[in-house]
Amino acid sequence: MTIDDIDTALSHHYHLEHLFQSDKSFDKMIDATLLFIEFDELSYLHSYNIDDMLAPKITKSIKYYLSLDSYFQRVGDYQYIILLQNGVSSKELNQLIKQISNIFLEPISINDNLFYLTLSFGVSFSPKEGTTLYTLVKKAKYALKSREKFSQHSVITSEEIFTSTSYLKMTELMKDLPLAIENGEITWEYQPQYDYEKNAYTGAEMLARWKHPKYGDVSPEIFIPLAEETGMIAPLTVKLFIETSHSFKILEKNHINDFSLSINISPVFLMSKTFYTTIDFFISEYDLYHKKLHFEITEQILIKDIYLYSELFDKLKKLNIHIALDDFGTGYTSFNYLSELPISSIKIDKSLIKDIDKNLKNRTIVNAIYHMSQALNLDVIVEGVENSAENSIIKNYVSIKSQGYYHAKPMSLKELILKLIP
């Protein structure tokens, strides 16, 4: 659970604990704003204790922008808090966040090495969200952690401040999630994949949607991580399997055969003990062996434990499951790995496709990925083709497939069938 995580993490904050005990003036705070700043760890420099070397420079640069009555403290590795007292307007807060963000657009130099730092902010307000330093830190940190999950951007802009007001919402969503899975509040949409060569849609990716009775549409970027944290990802995937087998049956009834359905497999579920037995159960009992079932697995997990997965992937291949590497091009996967693992296709991330007609650098990368994939006999699907300019570039590649708004938006199964039947 996230709150426990925060607690655990907080207990490591030696400075902060000391602060709680020693400074009584922080006991009650009214009209204060707490800004929690966390820098992304420079993990590739783990052994050098680089954080301690950076800290004095970070402190000096940030302090420059702070008024005398604000309190600034390093509270852990790569973590800092700023306490702004006596009422700060949101304009002033935004201004400060912008100033601090701007500092780190430039690299920091240590021993002639340049370090580019990325950072995130979490904000909490007193008395609205608590009156003790402890509570404010906890909530600001929660806001930051939630924010990280919601977006890839590590630097938050002033318009995007994510406050802990969402704390309550998250607690509620967490409570409602099992019911939503069970009662069918969570459904799936189908985004067709277009095959240029065949001039037809040959598959679709299933995308989870949650219509919450109180909050409306909840983004999968919120509820998938929530499911992963609360042990609900396995039940959610089980529901997805039931839905998938049902969809295959309906497609078949409509004489749509030879059509692939791709589903996203969470690394959390993939790593769990029940993963393989659950998959095995569905493939045999729901008669999925002869269906074109594709698992989309994010490229990121391969960076860590590639060899851990090779055995599992082999077993999945024996169940006739095609494995597609998702978000390809955003991580650091080596092509060596691809040749060693039983992977059938890669999905090139939409960030590389955006403006590909204008962005020469991305075009070069996509070109390289494409040719390597051809050499390795891997299918290539590009994601995020949104306009005709992007499409005009992509369609030139032989035997490539495309998934994006230009060809088709995500849709219901009924709409998909209507699209597929000539």
């Binding site: 899975i181 069970e182 029940t274 659950t278 159960f281 009992e285």
Partner: protein, 124 residues
């Protein structure tokens, strides 16, 4: 060994899912003579319990026309030997009904967990 089982759930997919799990377990353990009966509502379940004898039941707590607790009470009244599992998303809510059930199974159902509990419930 012959066993009669009743599955009570208002969602067709759930019943189908439970049947699949049981069938898979029958294959795995090479079991014989396990008969599965199903009911979609409280009324249908009570009718079936009146007419037939069941060794074990998997009862969803949230039925369209009533509670699974009433199904369990009815079954218990008929035979104290019937083993009953409650299926619910929130087992805590049924804490005081514990006496009416032999075990609580948390929803959404996971195949492995269901199989384990099936073995426990039927004392296989």
């Amino acid at each position: 060994m012959e066993k009669n089982i009743l599955i009570v759930d208002d969602v067709m997919f759930n019943i189908e899912f439970e049947e699949m799990i049981i069938k898979s377990l029958i294959k795995e353990l090479d079991l014989e003579n396990i008969h599965i009966d199903t009911a979609y509502t409280m009324t249908e379940a009570i009718e079936k319990i009146t007419a037939n004898d069941y060794d074990a039941m998997f009862v969803d707590m949230n039925l369209p026309d009533g509670s699974g607790v009433d199904v369990a009470k009815h079954a218990r009244k008929k035979s104290s030997k019937t083993r009953i599992a409650a299926l619910t998303i929130y087992p805590d809510l049924y804490e005081k009904e514990r006496a009416n059930f032999d075990l609580f199974l948390k929803k959404p159902i996971m195949p492995e967990v269901y199989k384990q509990n099936f073995i426990r419930l039927l004392q296989l």
